[in-house]
């Protein structure tokens, strides 16, 4: 087995700082040693190995862009992107765990929480001791979260929550849930803890995708939480959307990892697979596919890197994130499908990572803003006309 060296046709590495390279290599080595040898078993059993969450905490990559004051690393968004890339080369479910913990659960506490909330939750979440989840999507409200049903009402010193969330990564295993609910008609963020009365998080089963990731419902039946659990500093959709921007940014890098894994496997396979007396990599149709893969991966890398630098200097706009998420997931999914084809029948076996990445990417295409919703976000930016809704 050759050491994985990544795909770096345009010498992206020359644009990375030494610490960014070190973080990438740290995660890359861990994925090679701990994840790739065990991922198929985790998928077959349909569970997320608990020790992986702890290892992510020990490595210090959970919420790694958040300030050191809160037990995090204060690293660049490019470093975070590289971590997502390497994790997703292992599995999208693993990257999803880190995305949800860092971008969707820790980020809103750090951005919109009180100082007490930050000091209470962030260090334990950074270390992996506490797992977080993010409740926005509901059974009937996915792309249109603004019409969510979940409600919070004041009752003495408490808030009482009622409603249900769906498709919640980490829900069943989470110690802390960031839940978005309407309070007096305005979307607000609430911190719900695992043992709060009236809160349950049953696991959703039967997935053909993200099998090594926990997906859950969150159910609130007169769930009572103290008033100091509201995130004080944000109102409206801006709250969840700013979380999603960070997560989508990470996905734009993560998808490159899946794509690289598929490309790498396709290259190795086609070079060693002999048909009609020669390696199939020597045939033009196969080379055409490999060249296309390299082309798309390289474009995706440049897109993600430039976006990352903009994230770091604050000059980004959300539409740029939409384009990167949409493009890179789309190209990764196409590469996975093409790689399956190139592996022939072997492509369906779990000896190769192809079919797993392909199935995972179908979820990634849909979550965190579907492919089409991102098109509409760009359509609105281009034309100035929103096309999400109209009166019929």
């Amino acid at each position: 087995m050759l050491t994985y060296e990544g795909v770096d046709f345009y010498d992206i590495e020359s644009q990375l700082s030494e610490d960014e390279i070190m973080v990438r290599d740290m995660v890359r080595d861990w994925v090679d040693e701990e994840v790739i040898p065990n991922i198929e078993e985790a998928c077959r059993e349909g569970h997320f190995p608990e020790e992986w969450g702890q290892a992510l905490g020990e490595m210090g990559v959970l919420g790694m862009t958040i300030d050191e004051k809160y037990g995090c690393a204060g690293m660049s968004y490019v470093a975070y992107g590289l971590v997502c890339q390497e994790l997703e080369r292992g599995d999208s479910g693993l990257r999803s765990f880190a995305s949800v913990q860092g971008s969707l659960a820790m980020f809103p506490i750090s951005a919109f929480g009180s100082e007490e909330q930050k000091m209470h939750y962030l260090p334990k979440m950074a270390s992996g001791e506490w797992v977080g989840c993010f409740g926005l999507t509901e059974p009937d409200y996915g792309s249109n979260p603004g019409d969510m049903i979940t409600r919070a009402v004041e009752d003495g010193d408490d808030f009482v929550l009622n409603g249900a969330k769906m498709w919640i990564t980490n829900g069943t295993v989470a110690d802390v849930a960031i839940v978005w609910a309407k309070l007096d008609g305005v979307i607000r963020g609430f911190i719900v803890e695992k043992n709060d009365a009236g809160f349950s998080a049953p696991e959703m089963t039967g997935k053909h995708s993200l099998k090594a990731s926990v997906t859950s419902e969150l159910v609130f039946q007169d769930c009572r939480i103290p008033k100091n659990r509201i995130l004080p500093d944000v109102k409206g959709l801006k709250g969840p959307f700013s979380c999603l921007n960070n997560a989508r940014y990470g996905i734009s890098w993560g998808a490159i990892g899946s794509a690289q894994a598929c490309f790498h496997s396709a290259k190795e396979y086609t070079l060693s697979r002999i048909q009609f007396k020669h390696p199939i990599a020597s045939y033009q149709l196969v080379q055409n596919k490999l060249a296309w893969m390299l082309r798309e991966i390289t474009k995706g890398q440049l897109l993600a890197l430039h976006l990352g630098r903009k994230k770091d200097d604050g000059s980004w706009i959300p539409e740029q994130i939409s384009l990167a998420k949409m493009n890179n997931v789309d190209m990764a999914l196409e590469i996975a499908r093409m790689a399956r084809d190139m592996h022939g029948a072997n492509g369906i076996l779990d000896e190769y990572p192809i079919m797993r990445h392909m199935a995972n990417l179908e979820s990634v295409k849909t979550y965190e803003g579907t492919h089409d919703i991102h098109n509409l976000i760009l359509g609105r930016w281009i034309t100035g006309i929103q096309a999400f809704t109209r009166d019929l």
């Binding site: 087995m1 060693s272 697979r273």
Partner: protein, 310 residues
């Protein structure tokens, strides 16, 4: 031409056969060497004196040679050995002693020499992925890989001098612990049979052990096997991060031939590969490849060897 000195290799007080190869290497450097034989007595010196091509023999006798202690060995041997090019075995302790001796004399040490052509010495670098050819510009200590120089035969008998030495031991052996694996070490063996992950289960290594017993071979393993199974200790690992071996015969069973495994055994004189995958890279490096499952091939191999070797 400066003098050539050979430090004889001993094993538990007895002369190691590789010494005859060291004399051969020293002869290739152009002279009949002075052979230093370290030991607690001069009992092994006579065996050295009988080797062809030996100039003279110095038995370097001292209590410090009862166990290997780098500092005292280097000090004692340094006192006995004349200046010149010093030739050691590229064994674990031989290389260690070579390093200390060279440092003591502030001269270069050149390890793992596999060829001598006139004044040019060749040593493998990058685990044998390339060769380095060098010329000495003065005295040096060189270590010689086993099985690369033809052993010298018997000679007329050289003069033996005994020099008593005493040196303080810097490290104290407190206890000898039996090696967990009583088998021949792969680094020492002339024949190695190694298993890879294709053996499916570590218990199947007993099939390799039976063949090893028939051949007097060591049992090795690929990195994949060592990483996968706790039962297969790292001491068995052949490869870039394991042991680099150079046996006469290397039999790879269920080993695909990853580049780092090849780096550890590619210089074996003969390589036999047994693998069910006809496209396994190991076959490109095998002198004799057998496309077969190990379950089918090993029983036949065992019975053939037993019939042949009794």
């Amino acid at each position: 031409m400066s003098e050539t000195v050979v430090i004889a290799e001993t094993k538990q007080g007895m002369l190691h056969s590789v010494t005859a190869e060291l004399v051969s290497a020293a002869n290739a450097l152009g002279s009949a060497p002075t052979v230093i034989i370290p030991g607690t007595s001069d009992s092994a010196a006579a065996a050295v004196a009988e080797l062809a091509g030996v100039g003279r023999v110095i038995a370097c006798v001292g209590d410090c040679f009862s166990t290997y202690d780098a500092a005292s060995w280097a000090k004692a041997v340094d006192t006995c050995a004349p200046a010149g090019i010093v030739v050691c075995a590229a064994s674990q302790n031989g290389k260690d002693l070579a390093s200390r001796l060279a440092a003591r004399r502030s001269i270069s040490v050149v390890q793992d020499v596999v060829a001598i052509d006139g004044s040019t010495l060749t040593q493998p670098i990058f685990s044998g992925k390339a060769m380095q050819n060098i010329v000495l510009s003065g005295d040096a200590v060189i270590s010689i890989r086993a099985n690369t120089f033809a052993a010298v035969g018997e000679g007329d008998g050289a003069e033996v001098t005994v020099m008593n030495q005493s040196a303080d031991i810097a490290t104290a052996v407190r206890e000898m612990i039996a090696k967990a694996n009583e088998r021949l070490d792969v680094a020492e063996a002339d024949i190695i049979i190694s298993g890879g992950r294709g053996m499916q289960d570590p218990v199947n290594f007993v099939d390799l052990e039976r063949i090893a017993d028939a051949l007097g071979a060591a049992v090795g393993a690929s990195r994949a096997a060592v990483d996968t199974w706790d039962e297969i200790p790292h001491s068995m690992q052949v490869g870039q991060t394991g042991k680099t071996v150079n046996p006469s015969l290397y039999i790879a069973v269920g080993i695909s031939g990853a580049i780092q495994h090849l780096a550890g055994m590619r210089t074996s004189k003969y390589i036999v590969a047994i693998n069910k995958d006809a496209e396994a890279p190991i076959f490109k490096h095998a002198d004799y490849g057998i496309v077969s499952t190990w379950e089918e091939a090993l029983p036949i191999l065992e019975s053939e060897l037993k019939a042949l070797l009794g």
